[in-house]
Amino acid sequence: MGAYLVRRLALMVLTLFGMSVVIFVLLRIVPGNIADILFDSAGMVDPAEKARIVAELGLDQPIAAQYLKWIGGLFQGDLGYSYLSEKPTIEEIAPRIPITAKLALLALIFSTVIGVPLGVISAVRQNSGLDYVIRVLSLSGLSLPSFWLGLLILMAAVRYFGDIPIYTRTPASLWDELLLYSLPAAAVGFRSSALVMRLTRSSMLEVLRQDYIRTARSKGASAAAVNFNHGLRNAVLPVITIIGIEAAFLLGGLIVTETVFNIPGVARFLVEAIRWRDYPIVQNLVMFIALVVVVVNLIVDLLYSALDPRIRYAD
């Protein structure tokens, strides 16, 4: 177990290092940097002024030197300054993280609470009318773009409440916060719940075909006992994996949903930073996302072995 952990951690570091190189190079092959954009939009034409800004931001140095400066700073806890706001990157990113984290957590809860029971029902009543309805519902969940679902929710809110529940001020209380976050979380979570449902269903079907289920039935266990104690408990493992993968997957949905609902989280911030070629924000934010994905994957794998004694990571 110890050796396994060491190897996994070493691979994590290697992956993150690779990601840092990829993102750094990708950003620098973009035609046009922030100086170009500022000059285009502000209509400033003094080339000396522009050259001064480029030099000040270090954009005239070779890529390798820029990269070393960034990575060196990372190890000292210095993430650089945002080109746009000129505030330290960490001060720009850190306050936005809890907002996105709360949204993601709510969406995850939503997708699990909806997805797992529907998946179980669908599997236990396989090929019934109910099964078909649930399956079509879940496929439609996979087909609706979450930003459109968000827009529809906004539209319904306007029609029936005459008000748009979007983020215009910092929420005052926990209840206020829950109210503001629940709609966007549902818009994102709906899609995830469809995935969770599909996986629970196929995993459950697989388990229900096993011999020990037949044994349980023949010894006279009730249907509920068979389905839950013997079925779901064994079927839930792959579901945990998908919920872990979902945590990363949700970020994609949150990018568009935060844009629709005007929520100042990290996901929307990433798009804005990309538009402005605000390199320090983009590269640090991408590294942060990659770190979250890699750590979540590790946690899921460890959880897997903790929950299923049959799985042991040797060597």
């Binding site: 992956t15 950003l27 439609s140 087909s143 773009p145 539209m155 306007v158 079907l205 568009v256 798009v271």
Partner: protein, 304 residues
């Protein structure tokens, strides 16, 4: 060579249907049986075909020019002239949706094909050759999979610049690792098969074995994977265009139609918000239904 694999699987399936007591007579009978056995898949095929039809014959199907503006028709509500209303610039929404099908399908099919092509190549090489090549490929895949698909596509799209071609590439690249992974694991088990050994015994070159004997046998998972990815590439294009980093003007992209209309028109012109979303959802829904049926047909382990 490659076709024989499909025929084999289809014949296999037909044989199983025949054993179940069905009378399969010819190509037509087989199609009817498939429809009866996979009604949802058939619905998906019909929806998908309709969109392909609209895209191919857009010039005939669309009543108006999707780009011509008309200030007097600005924000016109749906009517006999403007079937699904008009946008702020007075462009006919229905005609834009019809032409938008071209963009959506071009990006969806293009990115899926491109992503699968490179994924197959990488997966085949890494699985068949093994050794240090496999090791390097595995690590690169790890790196690429450490970002969610949309984030990866966003960064790619921003770094390549906005154009139709670049949007296809930006969506195709994040697909490569997924495809490569599946093909690699298939290749790993195929490599140990007796027929590979036999081919080697008669003196075939490694490259020839990989292409002539291993590749055709990975065709079923490739088809399953490609149809499953199609819906998600179409959705990714819509998301990128919605965020303003996808297909640029003047192409009528469904995702961008939504972003143009987004917040302002939620109150005043709901048709601008509803119809492009319906188009995206419907085409993705159709592809997903089709993809599920294709998986059930080609992957016997999944058959319920």
């Amino acid at each position: 060579m490659t076709d024989s694999r499909i025929d084999f699987t289809a014949a296999d399936h037909a044989a199983e249907l025949a054993r179940a007591g069905a009378h399969v007579t010819g190509w037509r009978g087989a199609t009817l049986l498939l429809i009866r056995r996979y009604p949802l898949g058939a619905i998906g095929a019909v929806i998908f075909t309709l969109f392909v039809f609209a895209a191919v014959f857009a010039d005939v199907v669309a009543p108006m020019d999707p780009l011509s503006t008309n200030s007097r028709a600005s924000l016109a509500a749906p009517s006999a002239t403007y079937l699904l209303g008009a946008d702020f610039m007075g462009r006919d929404v229905f005609s834009r949706l019809v032409y938008g099908a071209r963009i959506s399908l071009a990006v969806g099919l293009g990115a899926t094909a491109l992503g699968c092509l490179f994924g197959i190549l990488v997966g085949l090489l890494s699985g068949y050759l093994g050794g240090w090549i496999d090791l390097v490929v595995q690590r690169v895949i790890d790196i690429m999979q450490s970002l969610p698909l949309l984030v990866m596509a966003l960064v790619m799209a921003a770094s390549l610049g906005p154009s139709l071609r670049n949007t296809i590439i930006a969506i195709a690249i994040p697909l490569v690792p997924n495809v490569a992974r599946v093909i690699r694991s298939n290749t790993l088990s195929l490599r140990e098969m007796p027929f590979v050994e036999a081919a080697r015994a008669v003196g075939m070159g490694e490259l020839r074995i990989a292409l002539r004997h291993v590749l055709p046998n990975t065709l079923a998972p490739i088809i399953v994977l490609a149809t499953a990815q199609l819906g998600s590439t179409i959705l990714t294009e819509a998301s990128l265009s919605f965020l303003g980093l996808g297909v640029p003007e003047p192409h009528p992209s469904w995702g961008r139609m939504l972003s143009e209309s987004a917040a302002e028109y939620v109150r005043t012109a709901p048709w601008l918000v509803i119809f492009p979303g319906v188009a995206i959802s419907l085409i993705v829904f159709g592809t997903n239904l089709l993809g599920d049926a294709v998986r059930d047909i080609l992957d016997p382990r999944q058959r319920s």
